[in-house]
């Protein structure tokens, strides 16, 4: 039998690409209208409102602890609620729990995969979650028996179809939120490994997420390679707000302490602040001389300062209200890959491709 006549296939293809073009036009028109609506209520800039605020003086922060022990690039870290312990993960598959204050290592696990890009400390302090190229998120209860092999008690919770880029426990040890290179985020029940909710809407890898500190505690924000930052409702799985002003991948998102805004850091070398009630970007933190991308951002306790870890090995400290750069910190000898402020705001910790972690205060 001969193959079907070419003209028929061609018509189908033409129809499909016409539909695609039609949808694209409609999407672009609506986006334009949305931008117009957002602009209508924008009556003042943040730095103008901040003119009356006192400027920040000389800023001195130093490395107070250096944690050595990883054999390869440190990719992620998280603080324990006790304000001094941390968990960190690296490219060589090792996940280490440290008492950052004494610099002692307390636990170590070797994952069966390399590039452990995500790790998180459970709110109770009794377990850690981690994952990466294995496409999974696993939970390890922290045993105090030195002889016990932590890997034996490992529990596989999340399963994605591509690498795990970030994970976070919600308010308890029982649920984990994950983001993945497969373009989705997902909420899981730790005990059963059941998928509770999945979140679709990113058009490319999702690289980061952060839970909202709001009263009703039902939303989170994610950032991805599609340059979008999306805010999601955890109950319904719907995307309730979306922001697309970055010019490149968004590597990190973090809520402002009040929960009314969030900051993002991107490969386009800028950090940006998005207000959720005004539904728009309200500040850009950038300088002509800052050339390399931001890998990680976090706020100080009062939200006045924004710390950014950059790919050029530095940390830039920004005045959130005035939009100016307050300080630049040197010390790491390779890319800063992760940065988190401690739960009580007394210090922040950075992890780097130079195999070390540093605590700054």
């Amino acid at each position: 039998m001969r193959s079907p006549p070419i003209p028929e296939m061609a018509t189908q293809e033409v129809q499909l690409s016409e539909t695609l073009a039609h949808l694209k036009t409609e999407s672009d028109t609506l986006k334009g209208k949305l931008e117009e609506e957002r602009a209508k209520l924008h009556d003042v800039e943040l730095h103008q409102v901040a003119e009356k605020v006192e400027g920040l003086g000389q800023f001195v922060m130093k490395t107070r602890r250096t944690l050595k022990g990883h054999g390869n690039k440190v990719l992620c870290m998280d603080w324990c609620k006790d304000k001094r312990r941390i968990v960190s993960s690296s490219q060589d598959g090792k996940v280490i729990v440290w008492d950052a204050f004494t610099t002692n290592k307390e636990h170590a696990v070797t994952m069966p995969c390399t590039w452990v890009m995500a790790c998180a400390y459970a709110p109770s302090g009794c377990a850690v979650a981690c994952g990466g190229l294995d496409n999974k998120c696993s939970v390890y209860p922290l045993s105090l028996d030195k002889n016990e092999n932590l890997a034996a008690k490992k529990k596989s919770v999340a399963m994605h179809t591509n690498y795990l880029s970030a994970c976070s426990f919600t308010n308890s040890d029982m649920q984990i939120l994950t983001s993945s290179g497969d373009g989705t985020c997902a909420l899981w029940d730790v005990e059963s490994g059941q998928l509770l909710q999945s979140f679709h809407g990113h058009a490319a890898d999702v690289l980061c997420l952060d839970l909202a500190p709001s009263e009703t505690g039902n939303t989170f924000v994610s950032g991805g390679c599609d340059k979008k930052a999306n805010v999601w409702d955890m109950r319904s799985g719907q995307c309730i707000q979306s922001f697309e002003t970055h010019e490149s991948d968004i590597n990190s998102v973090r809520y402002y302490p009040s929960g009314d805004a969030f900051a993002s850091g991107s490969d386009d070398a800028t950090c940006r602040l998005y207000d959720l009630r005004a539904d728009r970007e309200v500040a850009i933190y950038s300088k002509e001389s800052i050339i390399f991308g931001v890998s990680s951002v976090d706020f100080s306790l009062s939200g006045r300062l924004l710390f950014g870890g950059y790919n050029d090995y530095t940390i830039n400290v920004w005045d959130v209200l005035k939009g100016t750069r307050v300080s630049i910190l040197f010390g790491h000898e390779n890319r800063v890959s992760t940065l988190r402020v401690s739960p009580d705001g007394t210090a922040f910790c950075t992890g780097s491709w130079d195999h070390t972690l540093r605590t700054w205060a």
Partner: protein, 457 residues
């Protein structure tokens, strides 16, 4: 940047943005009016035209971008590391020195971004040229790579040698000075851009080819439909004026300023700086007398009060006096359902119904009839969020009514008056006397002990 962009091709897209920005800086540096003053530099007995010293570079960056010397050294160092400026004195040391060491701008022909990708073939030709010129006197690593390449692309080796000979012949016809400059530039380029050469295809690449995901914006119909639906919903959204929102940030920062240890320090001292953990000891979850800052913070918002275990306990005591403690108990039970294990949802919902919602329940909570009806109906098919509406109703009831009254109560005022303000402890006068850093019990240990005790009891 994702793990996928580290694979062939994606890295390029990501790095190009950085290259463009560095090139902007370089172009500004060479601007005839505002750029750097070039002069002849002496290298031993030779005079090199169009060169600058490391010190010149740093001074220019400091002036142009209004930055300190450390930052200028860092930025200048990046320009050297990525090959936009190369050192003349020690070509293999890709570092910017803040002294009289001579440097030169790399010609745009040899910019990484212009010539990307640096192919193995080009590198082979370069090594072959060098081999011929220096009559076999290559550096160790160059010799290794030369032999590896010879094996790898053996089939085109005649072409490589022929090209090398041609290029050498052409360069002999140049003036000596130009030839030397070109050799410097080429050497600088390959120092930075030489491709990693190994006999086996690196496992790194194989892995990522298997996981390769298209990173460009997906234009499939599914994504577009979602986008359109989202835009339609968003258009109907209520927004708040910027002036109101932004004022909120100023107020928040002001209110929390004294609570921010990085901004204003903490009492008695920051443990990370002084090695003294007193600050943490004074602020553990349960202390006999809390600090003043902590008690003040409870008044900032209802959420702050509830988030602090001690604050919540105090509030419970107050509600008991007011005979409305069941509200907080109900709220806590609902939180437990929302954040607890899937397997226990049904049993927990039952408990909550029995204790708080059933007619004649021991701790009956006062919810409006509409919410109560909705909740009771939902309980027949219990799920994680079945209590949400009722929980929110009670939460706002406490927030609007009990919370403000608590703040005015004697219970709170006494707590505030009793609260301690620790003395500031300055850092030790003798910087060499470092305090002993004591370890603390792991949270995992506390839980293990508790369950041990439970087991024994």
């Amino acid at each position: 940047m994702t793990i996928n962009t580290l694979a062939k091709g994606g890295w390029h897209r990501d790095q190009m943005a950085c290259f463009r920005k560095m090139e902007k800086v370089i172009v500004a540096m060479q601007d005839p009016d505002m750029g750097m003053k070039m002069r002849n530099q002496r290298l031993l007995i030779t005079v090199i035209p169009h060169a600058m010293t490391g010190r010149d570079v740093i001074n220019w960056l400091m002036q142009k971008y209004n930055m300190c010397e450390e930052e200028a050294l860092h930025l200048g160092g990046m320009l050297v590391r990525y090959g936009y400026i190369y050192p003349l004195k020690e070509p293999r040391s890709l570092v910017l020195r803040a002294d009289e060491s001579p440097y030169r701008f790399q010609t745009p022909y040899f910019w990484t971004s212009t010539r990307w990708p640096a192919t193995e073939l080009d590198y082979a030709i370069y090594l072959a040229k060098k081999n011929i010129r220096k009559q076999g006197e290559l550096m160790e690593y160059e010799k290794e790579r030369y032999s590896v390449l010879h094996k790898r692309i053996n089939h085109t080796w005649d072409f490589v040698v022929m090209q090398a000979r041609e290029q050498l012949r052409a360069s002999k016809q140049r003036r000596k000075a130009d030839r030397i400059v070109l050799e410097c530039q080429e050497q600088a380029y390959w120092l930075i851009n030489r491709p990693p050469v190994s006999l086996t295809l690196s496992t790194f690449r194989i892995y990522f080819i298997a996981h390769f995901v298209c990173v460009c914006v997906c234009v499939c119909t599914f994504c577009l439909c979602l986008q359109i639906e989202f835009c339609r919903r968003a258009l109907g959204r209520n927004r708040v004026k910027s002036s109101i929102c932004l004022e909120g940030f100023v107020k928040y920062s002001e209110q929390y300023l004294s609570h921010d240890p990085i901004m204003q320090g903490c009492l008695p001292s920051n443990p990370w700086i002084s090695d003294d953990t007193a600050h943490w000891t004074m602020n553990t979850e349960v202390v006999p007398i809390p600090s003043r800052l902590r008690v003040e913070r409870w008044s900032f918002s209802f959420m702050e009060l509830l988030n602090d275990a001690m604050g919540r306990r105090e509030f419970m005591t107050y509600l008991e006096k007011e005979f409305s403690a069941e509200n907080l108990c109900f709220w806590q039970a609902c939180e437990d359902i929302r954040h607890g294990e899937n397997s226990r949802i049904v049993e927990k919902v039952e408990e909550v119904y029995k204790n708080f919602l059933a007619p004649g329940a021991a701790r009956w909570v006062n919810i409006d009839s509409k919410t109560m009806d909705k909740t009771l109906k939902g309980i027949q098919h219990p799920h994680r969020f079945v209590m949400d509406d009722a929980q929110m109703h009670i939460y706002f009831l406490m927030k609007k009514d009990s919370f403000p009254r608590y703040l005015k109560s004697d219970l709170y005022k006494n707590m505030l008056a009793k609260a301690i303000v620790p003395q500031e402890v300055k850092k030790s006068v003798f910087p060499f006397m470092r305090r002993q850093r004591h370890s603390s019990p792991s949270p995992a240990q506390a839980v293990a002990q508790a369950s041990e005790e439970e087991g024994r009891a």
